[in-house]
């Protein structure tokens, strides 16, 4: 397909703005380089982008069981509410008396999510999950620094963690201590006890963890860290399994981030914008990034925490994403939130039992909202890898599960169906997965060379990295 730069002709374009109605002012020094931008008609432009959109698979196109990503249905009312001019047309620096509804939105969702998290304060300033991790770990850093406890230089991270966890800890100036997982995929308590000490700043943990198991020792884990003088950070990537059922604050965590674009149904937009809500216990509130929204005498205002780590982003975060999440939370309420979590877990377990006689489960027990299959045996028997099987799914119009994660499971496929999928859909998908399993034995070549029906087929990633073409070159 042509690039937009290859369409249209010089001189073509759209009429968008009026003639200048004031004396024209010319800056003394202007750019001398050419500015190559498309020169297309509105018709050409919309056809181009429509064609691009046809080469995209969204949640509305079908089942999207990406483990760890929570690709649930994105309700349409959320989009409508986010598009209200009363939100989209607000200037972030307009007087707060003229933005009371916006502050109310932030305050309302903050209070409700604080309750879901079991935390005392919430900020929406972080733009994404990793940005929320950065904020949360800085709260831990500020806490130790403020107490003069400068020896706490290490953050403990299980080897099953998302890559963002160790990367975040390193970005915050900490040394990362990776601890191995036990055979059940959970934290190895002995390894944890051996790792903690007076240099422990904290722990970053996902629970349920990245293999979809709720760590039953969670209270012991957070106690070990606290006894050593460290703090516990909850990576809320998997909160969808437990919201309304159990609260991270009650598990012993001191701070948390939650991805609004996962658990609270805001759309992923091809990789963003998301929003990272960060919550903390009362004793960490004074370190939060400012401003926080406060309510006093029926009016909303901003407050700046006294020992704030400082801003992590301009203004108040991805505000219009927060509006979507607010709409979602108001819709679900306390019962709906719990119902969503429980049905996410129900769906994952249903698929797990439907598939476990055919595929090898990495951990064959009741899972939370997702489960991991290991295709090591299939790969040995047939030569068909997790990648091949995933690519085979594309020919059935299915988005594959997460591949090759977590790193502790070889040939991993990680499946998270979400609560918004119906039993019929899951039955149909399980049927296709089993059909592909058979195909791996009967005709592995078809899978090695899959996909066959997509707009492009397997792409040369090595070539892309070795001979970098990262922009269009104009003649």
């Amino acid at each position: 397909m042509k690039l937009i730069f290859e369409l249209g002709v010089e001189g073509r374009g759209m009429t968008l703005m009026p003639e200048c109605d004031v004396p024209e002012y010319q800056l003394p020094e202007e750019r001398s380089e050419a500015l190559h931008l498309p020169h297309v008609s509105e018709n050409e432009l919309t056809r181009h982008y429509t064609a691009l959109c046809k080469r995209i698979h969204g949640v509305n196109d079908g089942f999207y069981p990406l483990g760890s990503c929570t690709m649930k249905y994105n309700p349409k009312i959320d989009e409508d509410m986010a598009a209200l001019p009363g939100f989209t047309q607000l200037h972030p620096l307009q007087p707060i008396e003229t933005a009371q509804g916006a502050l109310e939105a932030l305050h309302t969702l903050g209070a409700e999510l604080g309750e879901v998290f079991g935390m005392d304060a919430v900020t929406f300033q972080p733009a994404a999950g990793a940005h929320g991790e950065f904020t949360g770990v800085l709260l831990i850093k500020a806490y130790h620094t403020d107490r003069g406890d400068t020896a706490r230089t290490k953050i403990i991270v299980p080897d099953s963690a998302h890559g963002t966890n160790p990367a975040t800890a390193a970005m915050c100036g900490f040394q990362v201590i990776n601890i191995p997982s036990g055979v059940d995929g959970c934290v190895d308590l002995d390894a944890l006890r051996a790792a903690v000490g007076p240099d422990t700043a904290g722990l970053m943990l996902t629970n349920p963890n990245t293999v979809g198991i709720f760590d039953k020792n969670i209270l012991e884990i957070t106690k070990i860290i606290h006894d050593a003088g460290g703090l516990c950070y909850y990576d809320g990537a998997n909160l969808n399994a437990v919201m309304g059922v159990v609260r991270p604050g009650d598990m012993g965590f001191d701070c948390i981030h939650s991805n609004l674009h996962k658990t609270f149904a805001t759309p992923h937009g091809g990789g963003g914008p998301g929003a990272g809500a960060v919550g903390c216990k009362e004793f960490l509130k004074k370190y939060m990034p400012g401003p926080l929204v406060v309510k006093k005498d029926g009016k909303y205002g901003f407050a700046y925490p006294e020992k704030s780590i400082g801003r992590v982003k301009m203004f108040y975060g991805n505000f219009d994403v927060v509006v979507r999440a607010l709409t979602y939370v108001l819709t679900l309420g306390k019962s709906g939130i719990r119902e969503a979590a429980m049905n996410a877990v129900l769906n994952a377990n249903y698929m797990r039992v439907r598939l476990k006689d055919t595929f090898t489960m990495a951990y064959d027990e009741i899972c939370m909202h997702e489960f991991v299959m290991s295709l090591v045996d299939l790969h040995k028997e047939t030569g068909v890898s997790a990648l091949d099987l995933a690519k085979g799914m594309l020919d059935f119009g299915l988005h594959p599960p997460t591949m090759y994660f977590p790193l502790i499971v070889h040939e991993a496929l990680m499946i998270e169906p979400c609560e918004t999928e119906s039993k019929e859909t899951m039955d149909e998908v399980c049927g296709i997965y089993c059909k592909l399993f058979e195909l791996a034995h009967s005709d592995p070549e078809t899978l090695h060379t899959a996909p066959h029906s997509t707009p492009v087929r397997r792409l040369d990633e090595v070539g892309a990295a070795r001979n970098m073409v990262l922009r269009y070159q104009f003649a």
């Binding site: 090759y404 990633e461 090595v462 990295a465 070795r466």
Partner: protein
């Protein structure tokens, strides 16, 4: 798999060729095969000191990054800068594509000879 008899090896799959008091260091055929297509190498700087058992750079394939562990201790006296533009030679000619030269050299005791290294590779499968 190619394991030249005249070279020494480390358990982390680097090779060493002693050239007088200079150690020439690269990654083994086993290592390049396990990595897959190498697309980038992070090279150290000449003059850096290196310690046996510690990383002095890393190599990237499309989906993985792997530390290159120094099999000996000493000071880097030469870096194969040509690899920066042609990292694929680590795949095509692992024993020709040396990465660094180290001199003077210490801590060579743990190095394996070709037979011992071959046995080690067989064990790692």
């Amino acid at each position: 798999m190619n394991i030249p008899a005249e070279l020494k090896y480390s358990k982390s799959h680097e090779w060493v060729k002693m050239d007088g008091d200079v150690a020439v260091i690269g990654i083994s055929d086993f290592a390049q095969d396990a990595l897959g297509d190498v697309v980038f190498i992070n090279l150290p700087a000449e003059g850096d000191s290196v310690t046996a058992g510690e990383s002095f750079g890393d190599v990237e394939s499309v989906k993985a990054v792997s530390d290159v562990i120094c099999p000996v201790s000493g000071t880097i006296c030469e870096v194969n800068e040509a690899l920066a533009d042609a990292p694929e030679t680590l795949n095509s000619d692992p024993y020709g594509a040396w990465i660094i030269k180290v001199s003077p050299v210490t801590d060579t005791e743990a190095l394996l000879d070709a037979a011992a290294y071959e046995a080690h590779c067989a064990q790692e499968g």
